[in-house]
């Protein structure tokens, strides 16, 4: 299996790669369009500011490629947010895979949310063999509201999307690569899709 991690300069690519290595899988880090197109599975990580990250995607010529991919694609954290059509963070236009808007948490919470939170209402093969209310590691200030694409929910002042799915596109707001054994199970599930 050819597994590619999109390396566009705004992702925690190494952490994701190491987590996959722990599962015994080698992944290629690349932003090369042909390499990405020919992969069996694609992981799209992201940390930092939405606008800066989207700029790097455009610079690498990936903004048209990613939404057209046919193989399973997993967006992680900011990667998932950039799969939406718009983010309030820097009023950023996203990839539009999910027709959703990314919003900022209200100030009744501490921002960013940092730490382990539970995910529930699980409904996807991405989350199979996972118990309800399992803990995952989150670090974010912006969130995707609940929608028809929500396959896992978390609560931080309000219920929001902890994970999304539409056809071959999957997204996790939390970091499966940093969420202990249960996070690694999600990566394993993705590899088995």
């Amino acid at each position: 299996m050819k597994l590619v991690i999109i390396d566009y300069g705004a992702g925690n690519t190494k952490s994701v790669q190491f987590a996959l290595n722990r599962l015994g899988v080698a992944a290629i880090l690349t932003k090369n369009i042909e390499e990405i197109r020919s992969a069996d599975k694609v992981i799209f990580p992201g940390v930092g500011h939405a606008n800066a990250a989207m700029g790097k995607i455009t610079e690498a010529g990936l903004e048209e490629l990613i939404p057209c991919l046919k193989q399973p694609v997993l967006g992680v954290c900011l990667g998932m947010q950039l799969m939406c059509k718009f983010s309030e963070e820097g009023n950023t236009k996203g990839l539009g895979i999910f027709d959703l808007e990314v919003k900022k948490f209200g100030t009744e919470n501490k921002i960013p949310q940092i730490g382990w939170n539970t995910i529930f209402d699980l409904k996807s093969e991405l989350l199979s063999d996972l118990n309800e209310n399992e803990y995952m590691y989150f670090v974010h200030s912006y969130y995707v509201p609940k929608s028809e694409f929500t396959i896992a929910t978390a609560n931080y002042g309000l219920n929001y999307s902890a994970a999304l799915q539409k056809n071959n596109f999957y997204g996790c707001q939390f970091h499966p690569e940093k969420s202990g054994d249960k996070g690694e199970l999600i990566l394993k599930n993705f590899l088995n899709i």
Binding site: N12, K14, S15, F18, A19, N21, R22, V47, G48, H49, T107, K110, I111, P112, Q113, I114, G115, W116, N117, T118, Y135, Y137, F138, V139, H140, S141, N155, Y156, H175, E177, K178, S179, G180, D181, G183, E184
Partner: protein
């Protein structure tokens, strides 16, 4: 529900742990990676590695260590100690650190906080503040607490938040090493003042101190070193006690 975090801190010198010698089953008790894996298995929510090496060639050793930790440990970790530039941070993050902690360098050059949060995102910028009370006022101290400043803890905390820090790691020097409990009053004040997570450090001696800290101070996380290294407190037992006291933790 977001849980409260328990964070062991490992002091690193020339790539080796300084404390942590009471783990008998370790092949190499001085290997930070071995210790980190044990803590992760015991239920630690994150780890902090504080580099206290004095030499200049430490950087390479530290980067090697960070990469080995990232390869083998599946929970987040922060690296601190001697970080003073954007380049330092870039190398650490590229080696696999999730967050960096800056302290004296932020006081000397506050703009570094803005630069780091602009470039890498506030989620990876922890500002560590060491302070102690002088004539009833909390004053910021530098260089591992050796150098006093005129800066007020709360003013500085507000400023680092505004400059883009994602978290504050507050060590009370009045409490550190005493094993008499955390500085809950000051922590509560900090927690009310800023809207970013607060990590409490300094003073952990027994389980009750952690319970009191979370109940009285509203801190988001507690950090400790020696009570974990010397196995005076085991993390999974600590978390069971916290849960019995209605404090939300990951078990």
């Amino acid at each position: 529900m977001l849980t409260k975090r328990i964070i062991p801190c490992l002091d690193i010198k020339n790539g080796r742990t300084v404390k942590g010698i009471n783990f008998l089953n370790l092949i190499d008790a001085g290997d930070p990676v071995e210790l980190a894996k044990i803590y992760a298995n015991e239920g630690a929510d994150e780890l902090v590695f504080l580099d206290i090496s004095a030499t200049e060639e430490k950087r390479k050793t530290l980067l090697d260590l960070v990469e080995r930790v990232a390869q083998q440990v599946n929970i987040p970790f922060t690296v601190g100690g001697g970080i003073s530039s954007v380049e330092d941070v870039e190398l650490l993050l590229k080696s696999g650190a999730d967050k960096v902690s800056i302290n004296s360098s932020a006081v000397k050059n506050p703009d570094l906080i803005n630069q780091l949060s602009d470039k890498f995102g506030s989620q990876c910028v922890v500002v560590a503040i060491d302070a102690k009370q002088i004539d009833g006022k909390w004053k910021v101290h530098l260089v591992g607490g050796k150098v006093a400043t005129e800066m007020d803890l709360f003013d500085w905390a507000k400023e680092v938040e505004q400059r883009g820090a994602g978290e504050i790691l507050f060590t009370s020097m009045d409490n550190d090493g005493t094993k008499n409990g955390f500085a809950n009053e000051a922590l509560a004040q900090l927690s009310n003042l800023v809207n970013i997570p607060i990590i409490a450090s300094g003073g952990a001696g027994n389980t009750q101190h952690f319970i009191d800290c979370f109940k009285e101070s509203n801190a988001d996380a507690t950090l400790a070193a020696s009570v974990f290294h010397f196995k005076e407190i085991e993390i999974n037992q600590l978390k069971n006690e916290l849960r019995k006291n209605n404090i939300s933790v990951r078990i």
